[in-house]
């Protein structure tokens, strides 16, 4: 197990280097001159040249690449073109709001999704299933920005119970995490249901019932654990995806997170910020996948790591 972990962690480095190379190339292929954009709409050419020099964009591409890689290895991603602040500071400021928003969205949506999915599978094709799936389909189909605006209109504007924007207190987390988690809850419910329905037809479930176990024990102890494997995989993917920062939800609720940072950065061709954010997203995905793989072992001890 420990050897497996070390091996996986060692595998991290080459993946990240490949991502770094790809990101660097893609970013520099984007049309548009960052110096011109950073200098602003009414800057004369002398100013643009000053800005270009200041940003190190007057150097050759290979030279810029070497500077980027050697900096990245030391954890130095340079300065943002847009704000001229350290990229690491920019990202650190935005990472935690996105992380906690993702965490709370996942927390409620996984709980609710699992519950709805389980209920739907156990009472398959009867009314609890139908009602649950109506919610699930609505959750998937209703676009996040519309849901966000509706929730804001009801709970902030009309009722005045909750603040509409900001990330200062726990109250600020409610509306955005409801919005962000709705689709995830729906996906989790669908996934749990289909995985559960399959498991409930397995021989060992019939055996468990045959030996006289009560239905709750059969469902929770025997079926749920096995049904969880694909669900956990999906959970990991969703978590990684949400950590990238939901652009829509962050825009609607003015959330100071990663999604908006990345959009602003792409708009302004802020190379250092784009590169560092994408590297961070890749790292997050790899780490989450690793955690998911390890979780398999806890859920189903028959899975072995080699």
């Amino acid at each position: 197990m420990l050897r497996y972990l070390i091996k996986r962690l060692l595998g991290l480095a080459p993946t990240l280097i490949i991502v770094a190379v790809l990101v660097f190339l893609c970013v520099h292929l984007l049309p548009g001159d960052p110096a011109r954009l950073a200098a602003g709409p009414d800057a004369p050419p002398e100013t643009v040249e000053l800005v270009r020099k200041d940003l190190g964009l007057d150097r050759s591409i290979p030279e810029q690449f070497l500077r980027f890689i050697s900096g990245a290895v030391r954890g130095d991603f340079g300065k943002s073109i847009r704000t001229r602040r350290l990229v690491s500071a920019e990202i650190a400021e935005r990472f935690w709001p996105t992380f906690w928003l993702t965490f709370w969205s996942m927390a409620w949506s996984v709980t609710v999704g699992l519950a709805i999915g389980t209920v739907a599978a156990v009472w398959r094709n009867r009314w609890p299933d139908r009602i649950g799936m109506v919610f699930a389909i609505s959750g998937i189909s209703f676009p996040a920005f519309a849901l966000g605006m509706v929730l804001m209109e009801i709970f902030a504007v009309q009722l005045g119970w909750l603040p509409a924007l900001g990330a200062e207190s726990w109250k600020h987390y409610i509306l955005p995490s409801l919005t962000l988690g709705a689709a995830v809850a729906a996906i989790m419910a669908r996934f749990t249901r289909s995985s559960f329905v399959e498991i409930l037809q397995e021989d060992y479930v019939r055996t468990a019932r045959a030996k006289g176990l009560s239905e709750p024990v059969v469902v929770i102890k025997h079926a749920l654990r096995n049904a969880l494997i694909p669900v956990v995989t999906m959970m990991g993917l969703q978590f990684g995806f949400l950590l990238g920062g939901s652009i829509v939800v962050e825009k609607v609720f003015n959330w100071p997170g990663m999604g908006r940072l990345l959009v602003d950065a792409v708009e302004m061709r802020d190379y250092p910020v784009i590169q560092a954010s994408v590297l961070l997203f890749s790292l997050e995905f790899i780490v989450i996948n690793l955690i998911v793989d390890l979780l398999y072992g806890f859920i189903n001890p028959t899975i072995r790591y080699k």
Binding site: G32, E93, A164, E267
Partner: protein, 517 residues
């Protein structure tokens, strides 16, 4: 990092989350004024800012020697007047006495010198370098007198000193913070800088030692960048913001029905036009350009794309600009447009491309309307709304004027100095073509170029007015643009808040800001 300590608190509140529907948001203690604006600030160093918004916010803590009043007239701020030498090269400015910086330093001539020497030194690589590059030297005459020596005469020099970039910074702070000055602004303004959390807010609080007695009248301001239009509308209604700028025209009807809110509209310096590349067929023919102007119903454009919050352009520069010459608006006459096209040899029209410098929804509506209007006279245009990077690549960086791909180009301009020279020269002077500046029509007329230079070099207002009249008449006649509309400013204010307004150039005026209980 700050958010991490939220965790234990949040755990405790998990139970409370369920019961949330019964919770009430405690009304914010309304001592600070919350100002919601539509995009994030880039820097708190006005000399390094290229956006009006960052400079507007910086006016909470910074002031210049001169400034603009609500009607864009130049007024004394930290100065008490100036003299110009006969050759127009030396400006002597008297400073206001008894002014202190937030760090306790006295405001004297050395502060002026330190601030402007920093701006004129190319080593500092400041984005507003070009604005001040005409200053040869800033000299201290005595504690309260400074002398600016220019490289060449420049009649609009006081407007440069009144520009929101030209602020006075504490010389102690310049020495102490160096490159980090952007995060530690120390000025003479009515408010002290407290904290800036990039995406969240920027906070300032009342400066007790402000030189103007009785000011400011509020305890502090929270500047909040809120990028989403609907969200700005929502927080005005919830009371989370007292003021919001800019507001999209489509939300105005709803906000007008709210008794606690006041919708304000006024003229701006922001004009929209359609430039035509005069180096390329068919736009080399003045008749074609005139036909395009006749083909567009500007009244309807203002209604369709700007929900009525724009007025048809009646000249080359916005009507609120000094030296404006009224010429129009250009009449809408489809028959005349068709006749001119026929005379120019295009009886059945032609096909061309129309690019937009912006891809937001208002611009999309505008170019679709233009497409439909031009179609009526047989001009078939293919629309492309350029995203910022594409715009820079395809239009602003086009290296060779002869092969520049731009044809019809929907764009706009707002003179950041509030002054006619910067509204005309970058857009219409012969040598302002991209990549240098923004003459996207590639227009060149000797009379215009001579008059622009003449106006810059004279100090006689009457002569200057004559030059600008000549420029505007010639440009209107040659019509390198289709002159479209001047936008109206649109902002919303809580009725408890008074004394805040947006100036025609998009800067804020908030000296008299007051909040009723």
């Amino acid at each position: 990092m700050v958010k991490s300590e939220l965790m234990p608190k949040k755990l405790r509140f998990t139970a409370a989350r369920i019961a949330i529907s019964f919770a009430l948001v405690s009304p914010a203690v309304a001592k600070d004024v919350v100002m919601a604006v539509d995009s994030t600030f880039t820097t708190m160093d006005p000399y390094d800012a290229n956006d009006t918004l960052s400079q507007a916010v910086a006016k909470s803590f910074y002031e210049g020697l001169f400034g603009f009043d609500k009607d864009m007239n130049v007024i004394n701020v930290l100065s008490e007047g100036y003299d110009v030498s006969a050759d127009g090269l030396v400006y002597t400015v008297k400073l206001r006495m008894g002014v202190k910086f937030h760090d306790g330093t006295d405001f004297k001539a050395d502060a002026v010198k330190a601030s402007l020497d920093r701006a004129t030194n190319p080593e500092n690589k400041l984005r507003r370098y070009a604005l001040f590059s005409n200053i040869d030297q800033t000299g201290v005459v005595d504690d309260y007198t400074v002398r600016f020596t220019l490289k060449k005469p420049f009649s609009a020099f006081i407007n440069v000193l009144a520009h929101p970039a030209a602020v006075m910074i504490s010389p102690v702070a310049i020495a102490k913070y160096g490159k980090d000055l952007r995060d530690h602004p120390v000025g003479t303004g009515p408010f002290k800088f407290i904290e800036w959390r990039q995406t969240d807010y920027l906070k300032v609080e009342k400066f007790g030692g402000y030189w103007k007695p009785g000011y400011p009248k509020v305890d502090g301001i929270v500047w909040k960048p809120v990028v989403d239009n609907n969200t700005r509308t929502a927080i005005l209604q919830t009371g989370e913001a007292h003021f919001a700028f800019r507001m999209p025209p489509e939300q105005i009807a709803l906000l007008k029905t709210k008794p606690g809110l006041e919708v304000i509209t006024g003229p701006s310096l922001s004009q929209r036009y359609l430039s035509m590349n005069v180096r390329q067929k068919p736009f080399d023919n003045p008749k074609v350009r005139a036909a395009v102007n006749y083909a567009i119903n500007k009244e309807a454009l203002a209604k369709v794309a700007f929900a009525g919050y724009a007025v048809p352009s009646d000249g080359v520069i916005p009507a609120k600009m000094e030296f404006f010459q009224k010429m129009g608006p250009w009449p809408y006459d489809v028959a005349k447009a068709k006749q001119l096209l026929a005379e120019a040899g295009y009886p059945n029209g032609f096909e061309t491309e129309l690019w937009s410098a912006y891809n937001h929804s208002t611009a999309q509506k505008a170019i679709q309307f233009l497409q439909q209007q031009l179609n009526q006279v047989g001009i078939k245009v293919k629309l492309t709304a350029l995203e910022a990077g594409q715009r820079v690549e395809k239009v602003e960086s086009a290296p060779n004027p002869d092969t520049a791909p731009v044809r019809m180009y929907y764009t706009g301009w707002s003179s950041s100095t509030g002054e006619a020279d910067w509204a005309i020269r970058p857009l219409l002077a012969g040598d302002s073509a991209p990549p240098k500046l923004f003459n996207t029509a590639y227009y060149r007329n000797e009379n215009v170029d001579r008059a622009i230079a003449g106006a810059l070099n004279t100090r006689d207002p009457a002569e200057k007015a004559r030059y600008y009249k000549e420029v505007q008449e010639q440009v209107w006649k040659d019509a390198p643009w289709a002159f479209l509309v001047t936008e109206n400013l649109l902002y919303v204010r809580n009725r408890k808040l008074s004394g805040v307004s947006v100036m025609p150039d998009g800067n804020f005026h908030f000296e008299e800001m007051e909040l009723k209980e």
